[in-house]
Structure formats: C-alpha cells, structure tokens
C-alpha cells in the first residue's frame, strides 16, 4: 500500500534524524526542572512536579512535531525529492495522506512516551486519558505543520505559522475572557474588539479542552466533556487535511 510505505519512510527518517534522542533529552530536562521546583515548594510538591512536567512535555511534543514536519518537507522540496515523487504514478491524495499518516504517527508516539513519565505522579486512568488527548493534539499539530510547510515553502515561516496557530488556539479562552471582562466598557471600540476576538476564535481549534493538567491533579473529566473536546480536535484535523489536499492538488511542478 503506497500510503503506508510513505508513512514508514517518514518514521524511518524521524528515527535516523535523532528524534528519539531529542525526546529523551526533553524527558530528562523536564524531570530535572520538576525535581528542582519540588525542592523549593512548601506544599503540593507532587502536584507541582506533575503540572510542570505535563506543561513542559506538552510544549516539547508540539515543538518537536512542528520542526520535524517542517524540516522534513522543506528538505524534500529543496532536494527536488517532492517533484520526483509527484512524477510517480501515485495520486496526490495518496502522497499527501501517506506523509501525514507518518508524521501523525510520529507525534502520537512522542505523546505516548512523554505521557508515560507522568505515571510517576498521576493515576494510570488519568494518564491514559491525557495521553490519548495529547496524541490527538500532536496529530493536529502534524497536520497544521504539513499544511503550512507545503503552502509557505520556507522553514521559518512554516514553523512560525504552526507554533503561532497552536499558541493562539491555546490562549484564545484567556483572550476572550479578557475581552469580555467586567471592567471592559460598552463603547463601540470595545464591542468591535470583542466581536473580532470571537470571530477569530471561530477559526481556531479549542485546545484548552484537551490534555488538561487538572485531570492529572484532581481527577478524571466527565465522558461527555472529554469526547466533545476530542471531537473538536478531530474536526479541526479534518479541516486542515482538506485544506492541505486542496492546496496540494493545485500545486504546479
């Protein structure tokens, strides 16, 4: 199956480019930070360790996936490997989806390895739910990075756009809360700002609902909330895939 072969190529490339060592380094750095901070905490040292490690490893997952996808695609473009692949008797959809499957699998593997570290502080059930939602988040980042890498064709713009989209999506609930805060006035400018913020939020995934640290510290979420959050991520993943396929089919050699 051609798409599966392409996905395997992507995973082999990730392994040979030292991604497992980088992941190990991230785990070591997160554990060291947690060990230091828990020593200076007066209380909640275990919760502090779990929260810090979860936050750092989530950021590491996103950064590693985004840079891996962007550097791999851009190298392929620079080496004319993409043009060679497009000349083969394979549909463009197969080529796009094969690569995406490889990058998504790479991100999910990172998410699962990183989540295993959290078993030091949290219950297996909470870690399992957190791991599954982080894996979905990683697949979403892989889809966004693939889309931006093929659209913007530059390493820095592709990484900046992917990380920017991710950070904006994670920050949007806080931005909306600030825009609608009790201290904001009722002027036209304030209303327009709030509508603009709400409008931008419509175009972003709701990442604040997935891989929540509170599940690790305070207990499991309700099944309904969890599934709604995952469905939101899955929907946005499909949107990115559709946008990527649309752009890839229009690409000229």
């Amino acid at each position: 199956m051609p798409a599966a072969i392409l996905a395997r190529f992507v995973l082999t490339e990730a392994r040979r480019s030292g991604l497992p060592w980088l992941a190990a380094g991230c785990v070591a750095a997160a554990l060291a930070a947690a060990a230091f901070l828990s020593q200076v905490a007066l209380t909640e040292s275990l919760a502090l360790s779990a929260a810090i490690v979860a936050a750092l490893l989530r950021a590491a997952t996103v950064f590693l996936v985004a840079t891996q996808v962007a550097s791999s695609i851009l190298r392929e473009v620079d080496d004319k490997g993409l043009e060679l692949m497009l000349s083969l008797p394979l549909s463009r959809s197969t080529q796009y989806l094969g690569r995406l499957a490889g990058f998504a699998a790479c991100g999910m593997a990172l998410a699962l390895v990183f989540s295993a570290v959290l078993l030091l502080w949290a219950s297996p059930g909470a870690v399992a739910l957190w791991a599954l939602s982080l894996a979905c988040e990683a697949a979403l980042v892989a889809a966004a990075a693939l889309f931006f890498s093929l659209t913007l064709t530059g390493l820095v713009p592709a990484i900046a756009a992917t990380v920017g989209l991710y950070l904006l999506a994670r920050s949007m609930p806080a931005i909306q809360a600030m825009a609608a805060g009790p201290l904001t006035d009722a002027s036209f400018a304030a209303q327009a700002t709030r509508f603009a913020v709400d409008g931008i939020a419509l175009l972003l995934p709701r990442l604040d609902g997935v891989a929540r640290t509170e599940w690790l510290l305070y207990g499991l979420p309700s099944a309904g909330d969890y599934l709604v959050a995952l469905a939101g991520v899955a929907l946005y993943w499909l949107l990115l895939v559709a946008a990527g396929l649309f752009d890839f089919h229009r690409r000229n050699l």
Binding site: T43, E44, S45, A47, R170, S171, P173, D208, E214
Partner: protein, 237 residues
C-alpha cells in the same frame, strides 16, 4: 571525530586564544555576580488571573504553582526577627487571590496565607492574611476549612483576639456541609474556648489533619513538622 571534521590542529592559534579568553571572561563575570536570594524588593502589582492564563498559554495549574514559588521568593528572610517586613501585604493578597482564581482547587495560596504570611509577628499584616483565608473559605468551605481552622488558632494564640477566633471557628461549623469534615473541626469553637496553650492546640489540630488524610504531600508534612518543632522550642524557652 567524524569524517566531516578536520583535526583540532587545523584550528588557528588566534581562534584558540579568543575561545579560551571568552570562556574565562564568561566564567569570571558569572562568578562575580551576586547569587542567592533576590534582594529586598517588593512585589509588583498583582496580575489578573486572565493575564496569568494568557502568559502561560492556558497552563493554569502549572502557572498557579510557579506564581506561588515566585511570590514566596520575594523578601524571604529566613531567621530574621521580622520576616517579610518589606512585603506589601495588599499586593500579596491580590496575588494570592489571582492565583486562587487561576486554580481554585490548589491548596498552595491558602497554605501560604495561613501558615506563612499570617504567622509574621506583625498583627496588622497577620490580620490581612487571615481575612483572605476567611474570604476564600466562604467560597469553598468544604475544601478550605483546614486553613480557617489554623487561622482561628492564630487569632487566639498570636493575636490574642478571641472574638476573631470565635468568628472563624463558628464559620467552619456554620458553612461546612461535607461528611469529610471531622467533628473536632465542626466543634472548633469549643476547642477555641478551652484553656489550652498554642502547642497543645497545634498538636491536636495537626494530629487530626494527619489522621483525616488531609496532609499527603511530603513537602507539606516536612514543613509542618518543622513548624511544630519551632513552636515547641519557643514555648519551652
């Protein structure tokens, strides 16, 4: 050495010199820098919870705990006669409120308010911290009663303010509804009125908290054991 690299002998002597000099200078500059606790400085005005959430990209639980570590490092002067003497308690309370709003289930802000900032030998500041504990208790009595119980003891033994201690103790009885709140806490007012010294009261309370499983964190257990020893030493003197 990989096949892409030449031997170190290929590096010119002047590059070696610059590298060694820069490294030595870097080490000297860093070694000369003052390290350790931050200087006597006050807290900046408190950040709003939304701003803290934004700054942490939605990682509220981690941000709340990191903010607590930052606050506890400001003007910390262990062993001094008057700790936190440069700390603006109005700002401190603002920060603690913001952190509580960021992660309402964290015990850290109220632990610090009741066990650290309210225990300073300055009645005016102590009262500010105790009032914060009382306010926060009213928002979630079944979770936050241990801090108000400690606040009642401080009001009685440190501030010698029996009406304040009774107000706190009565609030625990009136507002807590959970079955998990132990009887001694519900009957805190009687406990306050009894003629026992601070050490006895603290022992009973800590024993009760340990027995109820409320103290599970090793850092907190260490901190409380140390506080009990200090109290013991002070009373023996």
């Amino acid at each position: 050495m990989s096949r892409d690299e030449r031997t170190v002998a290929a590096v010119p002597a002047w590059v070696w010199g610059i590298l060694a000099a820069c490294l030595a200078l870097q080490l000297a500059v860093q070694a000369a820098r003052h390290s350790g606790a931050p200087p006597e400085s006050d807290l900046p005005p408190p950040a709003r919870p939304e701003a803290l959430a934004l700054a942490s990209f939605g990682e509220k639980e981690a941000a709340a705990r990191l903010a607590m570590l930052y606050i506890q490092s400001v003007d910390f002067a262990a062993g001094e006669a008057l700790p936190y003497r440069h700390l603006d308690y109005r700002r401190l309370v603002g920060w603690l409120r913001s952190i509580l709003a960021l992660d309402p289930r964290s015990d850290y802000p109220l632990f610090s308010a009741a066990r650290v900032y309210a225990e300073v030998p300055d009645p005016a500041r102590s009262r500010i911290a105790l009032e914060l504990v009382y306010e926060a208790f009213l928002e979630d009595p079944n979770r936050r009663w241990p801090w108000l119980a400690h606040a009642a003891l401080l009001a009685k033994h440190r501030l010698k303010d029996l009406p304040l201690a009774r107000r706190f103790a009565a609030a625990i009885d009136r507002h807590t509804t959970s079955q998990n709140v132990p009887l001694w806490a519900k009957q805190m007012e009687i406990f306050i009125l009894e003629d026992m010294n601070e050490l006895e009261a603290a022992r009973i309370m800590l024993g009760g908290l340990l027995a109820s499983g409320k103290i599970r964190d090793p850092a907190e257990a260490r901190f409380l054991a140390k506080r009990l020893e200090e109290l013991e030493a002070r009373i023996v003197k």
